[in-house]
């Protein structure tokens, strides 16, 4: 049997939570660019889940009698490519690659970078020196070039691209999280924990980690667009997602051979990348401004 006070506690916590969510949407609705970003991300996720059902044609279906049709002809809104495949359908189905790359990479790079950042910032000493030296080495090399070199060596395919991007991306998380941890561990409540003999694991997971969630979310949301553009770039250069699978980067790569005759092949997949990156960035900027305006990347 539950006592009255217990019920009240439970009620209070759920009410606070739902209040927070309505508050979130209220704030979001009040900000034009953040709202636009949110809508773009929402639509993108819907498209990436139901892409095959939404697409008007089979994205892989080739028809040589209908190749290189300009937009708005014979029921092809955005035209067809060199193999007669519907461009719109390929863009819709290709959204999934970008969404998966963006989300999974940020998850992998973010998790790994956060762990390294916490270890480095909390334990300091020689392990901090070693880890930060590795970070320095990696930052001494341009991100996109590192990703290209690694993906050229590990090979193509979605999994390898994510690995390459994560190898290129974790250092930013490590560096930012480390400095956050350094700042938090100097706070009085941590000193109080140490002084009263709270276990180290308890301090790490119950006191430090919760304070890192905001910077992780902000940084993560700002990094997603970088990953999506990087994947498109390496696929464009031939090191990423391979044709005939539809991805925006390799669609542009194939389209560039027809730049003299078919402008639509190099235009629409790029617009898709632009809108995606724009949406993610707008939302990320809004998140930063709302959660922590002082946040520095």
């Amino acid at each position: 049997m539950t006592t009255k006070s217990e019920v009240n506690v439970v009620k209070g916590s759920t009410r606070r939570k739902s209040l927070r969510i309505t508050n979130f949407f209220k704030k979001l609705l009040g900000n034009w660019s953040g709202f636009v970003g949110f809508v773009i991300i929402f639509l993108l996720i819907i498209i990436s889940i139901f892409g095959k059902q939404i697409a008007p044609y089979d994205p892989m279906y080739t028809d040589f009698t209908k190749k290189l049709l300009p937009p708005l002809t014979e029921g092809h809104l955005l035209g067809t490519d060199q193999l007669g495949r519907d461009v719109l359908s390929r863009i819709i189905v290709g959204a999934r690659v970008s969404v998966i790359i963006g989300l999974v990479t940020v998850l992998v790079a973010g998790t790994f970078g956060t762990i390294v950042g916490i270890i480095s910032g909390y334990f300091r000493g020689w392990i901090d020196v070693v880890l930060m030296r590795i970070v320095d080495v990696q930052l001494s090399f341009p991100f996109i070039l590192l990703v290209l070199v690694v993906s050229a060596i590990t090979g193509t395919g979605l999994r390898n691209i994510i690995i390459s991007l994560a190898i290129g991306g974790w250092v930013i998380f490590a560096r930012v999280i480390r400095s956050e941890v350094l700042a938090i561990r100097e706070k009085e409540f941590i000193t109080a924990c140490v002084a009263t003999g709270v276990k180290r694991s308890h301090i790490l997971f119950k006191h430090i980690l919760p304070n890192l969630i905001t910077p992780i979310i902000i940084l993560g949301s700002l990094q997603i667009a970088t990953y999506i553009i990087a994947e498109a770039s390496i696929s464009f250069l031939g090191f990423g997602v391979q044709p005939p699978a539809p991805a925006w980067g390799n669609m542009l790569s194939e389209g560039k051979d027809y730049i003299f005759s078919s402008w639509w092949l190099i235009t629409f997949p790029g617009i898709a990348i632009l809108i995606t990156a724009l949406g993610v960035n707008l939302f990320g900027d809004w998140l930063r401004d709302t959660l922590d305006p002082e946040f520095v990347e």
Binding site: S140, F141, L145, A232, L237, G238, I273, L274, A277, D285
Partner: protein, 305 residues
Amino acid sequence: MLDFVVKRSLQVIIVVFLALTAVFFLIRLSGDPTALFLPPDTSREQIEEYREILGFNRPLYVQYGEFVGNAIQGDFGQSLRSGESALGLVLARLPATFQLAFSALFISLLISIPLGVLAAYKRNSIFDRIAVAATVVGQAIPSFWLGLLLIYTFAVSFSLLPSSGGGSIVHLILPSVTLATYSIARFTRFTRSTMLDVLRKDYIRTAKASGAPTGSLVLKYALKNSLIPIITLVALDLGTLLGGAVVVEMVFAWPGVGRLLLQSLLNRDFPIVLAGVFIIAFIYSIVNFIADILYAYVNPQIRVK
């Protein structure tokens, strides 16, 4: 200051060395490149023979030791395809990459600083709003796609400029504008926010109150004090510019280091890859090093640390 310079120089050497080591082992882990240089019907004995000639049959640590020993003397071996010195090939491409990166830098500074200053000065005006929106879009455009669009517009539709290749100022226009776009967006945004911070300062208010003319207020007092953070950001971004140059070089077939490096990756011509990684890591580190010294020079607090 000298201590700082010595310490940072050592760091450059360590960083370049570790970068080379990482790439060396990554390459070797990806498999034996011998077979790639022989026709598909080569017999097993012949492959073995070539493996011995090329030295790929020895233990990894021996190959690594030899590589380091030679690299210290500036010898990265010969291109597995053309037989020319790998470092020589990379160095020959360096001027083209510098040309591209520096003209992009020049273009972005020329546009972004006046734009940022003006946007900050006319804060919340229509001009400011458009400038801010443009920087948001500019940071989301993939550079390779912008390159394609520029090629289509200026080379295909209007036949005004060449679409690819190098060698003249005309060839430089499209690639450097493409490369500059991201920096223009970033620098404008940064100049604007720095200027806004400075314009809020007390000494600006005092100058304003004492009747300083607007022009000198903005240029002489505010911009002068905003330049330090701007210079730092620009120096730090030079590396990004060099990285971005790789992708842009491929789009425009610009004969720079980046294009050579990517083609060598595709061909698995590893000596060139290693020489290219060496040069890029070295330049990138040196640029960051100079940025740090500049920063330490203008900000004595850093020096003490």
